[in-house]
């Protein structure tokens, strides 16, 4: 029997054996959210085995970072998880600050602004997941509603750091410049607008019968399997395990804010969907608490000329400032030898950095613990026994970002 040509070009038939068939899905398939190839063994429409090929977006960021100054490495590290660049920067600067031993000396205002931007990025990242996840399921209008919120947040990030996606705003020792005029007014507008937008999104999606049919009981992970497979973030909390790095190992002053960690017990795609929606609300709760702290001015960079670049306006007036500026720009600073593991709660889960310094002015090793990699790997467990069409839902519900998976 000859194989009938398939209409969908992204699904290529590799092999046919009796009733089972080996298909290649991707790496250009739109619902893989990047470049992921899934080699599927199917019997009829049921997936028997899924094997993933990653590495299509491997750019050697860890190697690049080893060859850059401590101050420069942040720029490439932000590009790993491109939907949450400030999360990457946060984990990196916290780790380096631990090695430098200056964690306690970071000004409070800088810490608050870091938390503010990380939580805004979490909302923006979940907006992309919601929008693209909606498209996977045929709900195209979701994309526009979600991206409207995301645009507002990217505008805020652009205003604060100078770039929409990779602002390199979080620096070792603090942040790069204070918030500009007009930022807080726009933030207030967003805080005011957000709840009604979330109500709209929930009304559109949460009880939508098509969405519920597609997501409920699809891709179930039990709590034991979730722990064994190293799931973190919303994927773990949708399986009933309440592990959140912000609560378990608070950093950057998260212990000051009151927020809940949404947990669901079902472990299916719908539970992960609800956990992320709830997380967006909780993130905005943190944002509005941080907002109240921002009216009072204060320092935003550590008072240490060896680490912090002097303010631009002092360079022309002070010889010392000129020298410090020159030293930091031309050869960075040296970090005491040692190794450290620092994790944060990124929108996808525990994002950790294992950083080794040998006392030089460049990181000796920057190892990322990418949450997406481990979340995606669990597809090997999720996929068997499900329909091919549900695979799209499962990949979407795990929310992988390939800049981070492949690095």
């Amino acid at each position: 029997m000859s194989v009938a040509p398939l209409g969908v070009t992204a699904l290529d038939v590799v092999e046919v054996k009796g009733n089972s068939m080996t298909l290649s899905m991707g790496p250009q398939h739109p619902s893989t959210h990047g470049v992921l190839q899934v080699v599927l063994e199917v019997s009829g429409e049921i997936v028997e085995k899924a094997e993933m090929e990653i590495g299509y977006l491997h750019t050697g960021i860890e190697k690049s970072a080893e060859n850059l100054f401590w101050t420069q490495a942040g720029t490439v590290i932000e590009r790993m998880d491109y939907l949450s660049p400030l999360g990457n920067a946060m984990a990196y600067v916290l780790a380096v600050e631990q090695l430098l031993g200056v964690t306690d000396r970071i000004p409070e205002r800088a810490q608050s602004i870091r938390v503010l931007l990380c939580e805004l990025t979490r909302i923006a990242s979940h907006c992309v997941w919601l929008g693209t996840g909606g498209i996977d399921l045929g709900a195209i209008s979701t994309f526009f509603y979600a991206f409207d919120i995301r645009e507002d947040i990217l505008d805020l990030i652009e205003q604060s750091g100078g770039a929409r996606m990779h602002p390199n705003y979080l620096r070792i020792g603090g942040i790069n410049g204070d918030l500009p005029d007009g930022f807080l007014a726009r933030l207030d507008a967003l805080i005011e607008k957000f709840p009604s937008r979330m109500r709209e999104l929930r009304a559109l999606l949460q009880n939508n019968p098509i969405l519920r049919d597609r997501m409920i009981d699809v891709g179930i992970v039990g709590s034991k399997a979730a722990i064994e497979w190293g799931l973190t973030g919303p994927a773990l909390r949708a399986s009933g395990v309440g592990y959140d790095v912000r609560k378990a190992f608070p950093y950057s002053g998260y212990q000051k804010y009151s927020f809940d960690v949404p947990i669901r017990d079902d472990g299916d795609a719908y539970a992960r969907f609800l956990v992320r929606l709830d997380e967006m609300d909780e993130a905005m709760r943190i944002v509005s608490q941080v907002r109240k702290e921002l009216d009072l001015p204060g320092p935003i960079m550590i008072d240490d000329p060896k680490i912090a670049q002097p303010p631009k306006e002092t360079i022309a007036l002070s010889m010392e400032a000129l020298i410090h500026h020159f030293k930091i720009v031309s050869e960075s600073f040296r970090v005491p030898p040692g190794d450290v593991y620092q994790a944060i709660e990124s929108p996808r889960g525990e994002l950790g950095y294992y950083i080794v310094s040998n006392g030089d002015n460049r990181p000796y090793r920057v190892r990322t613990r990418p949450p997406s990699l481990y979340n995606l790997q669990s597809l090997k467990l999720l996929a068997p026994g499900n329909l091919i069409a549900d695979l799209v839902v499962m990949i979407g519900s795990l929310d992988p970002v390939f800049g981070e998976v492949d690095r």
Binding site: G55, N67, G230, Y354, S378
Partner: protein
């Protein structure tokens, strides 16, 4: 050979993990290669239920040359709310791996998510995990030669490192008053001609 783009300016520590400052980020164990599986099995039995990550570091001048680093997290096996998870415990296990026979026991049967992590270390460092079900490259193409994250692997790759970098005519390395040549000169001539309102020899119309 370290990359030419990374000149070192400082005297460096051979084994940074031995001289680390007091940072309470995890409980640290340094163990021998042979006791890896028994140690990890014991830790797992003690409650370190999640394998967060496996990383590797190449200390080129040290013997054993490589460190493979296991990050574990102690979480309850049952479903648990935020309060019950309490303060989980982080555990870090470091294992030295020598240059001569860079081999280590695989732990895929203990934690299934070690699969990709071990493949990545094999791919980027060339450390062989014995007992891994299908140890092959994961990030680099399957026919790639060498292990890119090793310290003696050049930053731009062996082929490109051998070719000289193009000498760009930067403002700073052209002496003042030197007449430009080549493409720069041609572009300048065009620009001057355009500024004067004359069409250059190769240009059509205004």
């Amino acid at each position: 050979m370290p990359s030419s783009q990374a000149p070192s300016i400082a005297g460096t520590a051979l084994d940074p993990t031995a001289v680390r400052p007091e940072i309470a980020d995890a409980e640290i164990f340094r163990i021998e290669r042979g006791e890896l599986r028994s140690k990890l099995t014991a830790l797992r039995a003690e409650g370190c239920s999640m394998l967060l990550d496996i990383g590797a570091v190449d200390y080129l001048a040290r013997e054993p040359r490589f460190d493979v680093v296991y990050h574990l997290l102690a979480l309850p096996q049952k479903p648990a709310g935020v309060a019950e998870v309490g303060v989980p415990r982080r555990v870090r296990v470091l294992v030295g791996v020598p240059t001569q026979h860079p081999q280590l026991a695989s732990i895929v049967d203990l934690w299934p998510n070690a699969d990709w992590a071990e493949r990545e270390i094999y791919d980027l460092y060339g450390i062989v995990f014995e007992g891994h079900p299908s140890l092959r490259r994961i990030q680099m193409p399957h026919d790639w030669e060498g292990h890119p994250l090793r310290k003696d692997y050049p930053l731009r790759g062996p082929a490109r490192e051998a070719t000289p970098r193009p000498a760009f005519a930067l403002k700073s390395n052209v002496p003042a008053g030197a007449p430009p040549d080549g493409k720069v000169a041609a572009a300048l001539q065009k620009q001057i001609a355009r500024a004067r309102g004359q069409a250059g020899p190769g240009e059509k119309g205004p």
